[in-house]
């Protein structure tokens, strides 16, 4: 496996070290190395590497460039809010901080190329210089000339420089309208299950045997592989759950090799982890605390989506119900639901093309204050006067984030709201006031 990385111009033992640090990525590393060629030779002006998250793109490049000590500048496009940061970083890495200070204030690309050319005529490149740009998809949102210029940087500055772009998005989404210099496209395929097993097994704790840890990884992958193939997530989950896996071993109940009992112990735990820690409903800290508590003591998991039932005053409940009805019923059906004597409404007119989707799937729609009050008055049994207390209850509902205000700031006399509660919540509330909300919802007709 290590013999695959051979390239004249680099030392053997350095290549060996590189190969050891890049398990399961030898094919890609070999290809990159052969494209890079010997240090003093020219390489293709721009290379575009794409692949899923945590498929090793940055890792492979960093290991290659650092171990082989090639001149490089790594720039993450997330950090480069303005292009000046990109220019400074590149000039700093290649020519030192004096060159970076030669850039004028708010430099344009023209200034950058000029300074680069000056510097490189003083210190020409003896080895190929690499500019690595991570999260390159953000380059599409900057000036329209930046991406095409970077792709042909070798030609513009007349220096031995190669630009490598790393991204999770395919190249077809990057191409500018009138075309550009096409980079060489390289794909970093995802890791297979066996490769994931191999890489995750390298994280093992030294006090446990390799077989024990790999059986644990096997179980973990069996539960999580169909849901998530991201290496970073899997490493995180493996680290979090390992102590629980070793618990019966520490207590002396089972032996090392008793995989069936270990599996029975850990499997419900992993399933619970999939619903909480993986979805980030609870933080890793909470998860670890829960693991330390006894099983009898663990009550309900207080995740992010667990609503605590709020006690509301009587009229507030009806206001909330009215808001829900206003959000999820189309405005033209109000007459049918809330007016005492409505005529026959023909159903056939109602069904338009986009009515096939239920309103509940589309999300709440905004409604004006007048409509809310109209529905409220018809829904509440008793006669209620429009006093200030009613209006102040509306604003307290907004503070509780049960309603959301969506109108612009300058329209003070016609505010619009949206209802921000789920169907279960509103059903629970309407049960407490003996109101049958399902009869008033258009989707449940």
């Amino acid at each position: 496996m290590t013999a695959l990385l051979q390239q004249p111009g680099y030392e053997e033992e350095r290549l060996q070290r590189v190969a050891e640090k890049l398990p399961c990525r030898d094919v890609q590393a070999g290809l990159l190395l052969s494209l890079m060629g010997q240090p003093q030779q020219y390489s293709f002006p721009s290379i575009f590497i794409y692949g899923h998250r945590a498929s090793g793109k940055s890792h492979v490049l960093q290991v290659l460039l650092k171990e082989l000590e090639l001149p490089h500048a790594t720039v993450s496009c997330v950090e480069c809010v303005s292009v000046v940061l990109l220019f400074e970083q590149v000039l700093l890495s290649f020519f030192g901080c004096d060159a970076a200070s030669l850039l004028p204030r708010s430099p344009s690309l023209s200034d950058f190329v000029r300074v680069y050319r000056q510097q490189c005529s003083q210190s020409p490149a003896k080895q190929t210089r690499y500019i690595v740009m991570e999260k390159a998809e953000l380059l599409r949102d900057t000036d329209a000339n930046l991406l095409p210029a970077l792709l042909r940087l070798q030609e513009l500055v007349e220096d031995n420089v190669t630009v490598i772009l790393l991204s999770e998005i395919v190249w077809d989404k990057f191409r500018p309208n009138t075309g550009c210099f096409e980079p060489l496209l390289l794909h970093f395929p995802d890791y297979s299950k066996g490769e994931l097993q191999q890489i995750l097994s390298q994280d093992r704790h030294p006090s446990y045997s390799a077989e024990f840890y790999s059986s644990y990884i096997n179980i973990l992958l069996g539960v999580f592989y169909s849901v998530c193939r991201d290496l970073r997530e899997l490493r995180h989950l493996a680290a979090l759950n390992f102590s629980k896996f070793c618990e019966p071993l520490a207590e002396g109940k089972v032996k090392d090799t008793d995989t069936h009992k270990l599996w029975r112990n850990i499997e419900p735990h992993l399933k619970k982890a999939m619903q909480t820690v993986y979805l980030r409903e609870v933080s890793s800290l909470q998860w670890e605390q829960m693991q330390q508590m006894e099983e009898k003591e663990t009550g309900t998991v207080r995740g992010l989506s667990a609503h605590t039932h709020v006690e509301l005053p009587y009229y507030s409940k009806f206001l909330l119900i009215a808001a829900y009805l206003a959000s999820y019923n189309p405005a033209r059906t109000d007459k049918r639901f809330f007016v005492k004597h409505h005529g026959k409404i023909k159903k056939t007119n109602f069904l338009k093309k986009n009515e096939k989707t239920s309103n509940h799937l589309l999300g709440p729609k905004p409604f004006p204050l007048d409509r809310l009050l109209a529905i409220f008055y018809s829904v509440v049994d008793s006669r209620v006067a429009p006093t200030a207390s009613i209006f102040s209850q509306i604003s307290s509902l907004v503070t509780l984030q049960l309603l959301t205000k969506v109108s612009q700031g300058d329209l003070l006399d016609a505010p619009k709201f949206k209802c921000a509660v789920s169907l279960d919540f509103i059903c629970a509330i309407s049960r407490t006031v003996n109101f049958e909300i399902l009869k008033y919802l258009y989707d449940f007709l």
Binding site: Q6, Q7, P8, G9, L31, S34, L35, G37, Q38, Q41, Y42, S43, F44, P45, Y50, G51, H52, S55, S108, L109, S110, V113, R114, D143, N145, P148, A149, R152, Q154, E155, L156, V170, W171, D172, T178, G179, C180, F181, E182, L184, L185, H187, P189, D190, Y225, S226, V227, C228, R229, K353, N354, K356, T357, H360, L361, L362, G363
Partner: protein, 358 residues
């Protein structure tokens, strides 16, 4: 595996391979200008004649070189300039200004660049000019020869010409073409662009000052010519130090090009695009498979390189998704088909994908 023969210059295989890589990389990656322009002799002659008239006889000219990406516009221009500079008189007198639409995004920046390239920063100093044209005229006046009789000819090369047409009021273009028409200073304006409809981008006043001279580089290669070009690009030149190795290499390249499967692959490439760049990319990928342990290019290399060029990026990315994510994508496809492209959100997708999670 080193052959040692007395007499002829022989190098060990490792060094030969290094030399081969060096030469071929200069061709593919650096796009070195070839000695003879291949297939564009008429255009070469036309452009050379035009620029010679400006440089030697002081006649102002403007021309646009139009061709799709990778057709060889810059290569043609470099060839012509190299041939032009062989005359002593031209070398002494002609000044060149190279502007690029990607770099000079503004007329102000373009003017600074012109000043800098004509080395007139000292002359301009701190002067403040009222308008663009005043500035330009001043610069060109400053280029007059010592006896004030005539001015040195200037060649303006505008790369990505269509981007200059997007500047405000097209001031730079207007002034350059104006000077070229008004016979004050002999200038030649050469624009390179990939857009065939570039003339429609120009304003009426700019278009009327342009000479409407266009050189088109639409490739008219046939497949046999394409094959020949591939072979020439991969072959080693005659002055390669190790003659034996060069001969072996060239004959193996010839054999590869005559192989049936390679021809099919090259036909596919020819059908999708004929330009130099895609060819260079394919050949670069072939070259990367040459190493000391395998010092020739085999047909399998070309097939593998072609496979890499034509690989479907989206299918590659789909391969790496987990089963859950694939279910969601299938549900999205269903929704897209049923509702004919109407937007959808996660709730709807989740609803649709529920059927898969049983």
């Amino acid at each position: 595996m080193s052959k040692r023969k007395v007499g002829a210059a022989h190098m060990p295989v490792g060094e030969c391979i290094t030399q081969v890589q060096e030469i071929l990389r200069q061709r593919f990656c650096r796009q070195r200008v070839p000695d003879r322009p291949g297939g564009v002799e008429a255009q070469h002659k036309h452009l050379l004649g035009l620029l010679k008239r400006t440089a030697v006889h002081g006649e102002s000219n403007s021309v646009l070189i139009v061709g799709p990406r990778g057709a060889g516009k810059t290569m043609l221009l470099k060839c012509v300039l190299r041939d032009l500079m062989e005359e002593k008189e031209v070398q002494k007198n002609l000044l060149q200004v190279h502007l690029n639409g990607l770099l000079q995004t503004d007329d102000r920046i373009a003017l600074k660049e012109i000043t800098r390239q004509l080395s007139l920063e000292n002359v301009v100093g701190d002067k403040v000019f009222g308008s663009f044209s005043e500035n330009l005229v001043f610069l060109l006046e400053a280029l007059k020869k010592g006896d004030r009789s005539s001015s040195r000819p200037v060649l303006f090369v505008l790369d990505e010409f269509d981007l200059f047409a997007h500047h405000k009021n097209q001031t730079l273009l207007y002034n350059l073409f104006d000077v070229s028409q008004s016979a004050q200073t002999p200038i030649a304006v050469v624009g390179l662009t990939c857009r065939l409809d570039v003339l429609e981008l120009l304003e009426k006043r700019v278009k009327s000052r342009f000479s409407h001279r266009q050189i088109h580089l639409l490739s008219s290669l046939t497949f046999p010519q394409y094959l020949e070009r591939v072979q020439t690009q991969l072959s080693l030149p005659d002055d390669f130090p190790d003659e034996n190795f060069a001969q072996n290499w060239n004959s193996s390249i010839k054999a590869v090009c005559e192989d049936k499967s390679v021809r099919d692959v090259l036909q596919r490439h020819f059908n999708s695009s004929k330009d130099h760049r895609t060819m260079n990319m394919l050949l670069m990928l072939c070259l990367s498979r040459v190493s000391v342990s395998k010092p020739t290019i085999k047909p399998a290399d070309v097939l593998e390189a072609s496979r890499m060029c034509f690989s479907d990026a989206k299918a590659n990315m789909l391969h790496g998704l987990s089963i859950l994510e694939l279910c969601l994508i299938i549900a999205m496809k269903h929704l897209n088909d049923i509702y004919e492209g109407e937007p959808f959100n996660l709730q709807m997708v989740h609803n649709g994908a529920d059927g898969f999670f049983c």
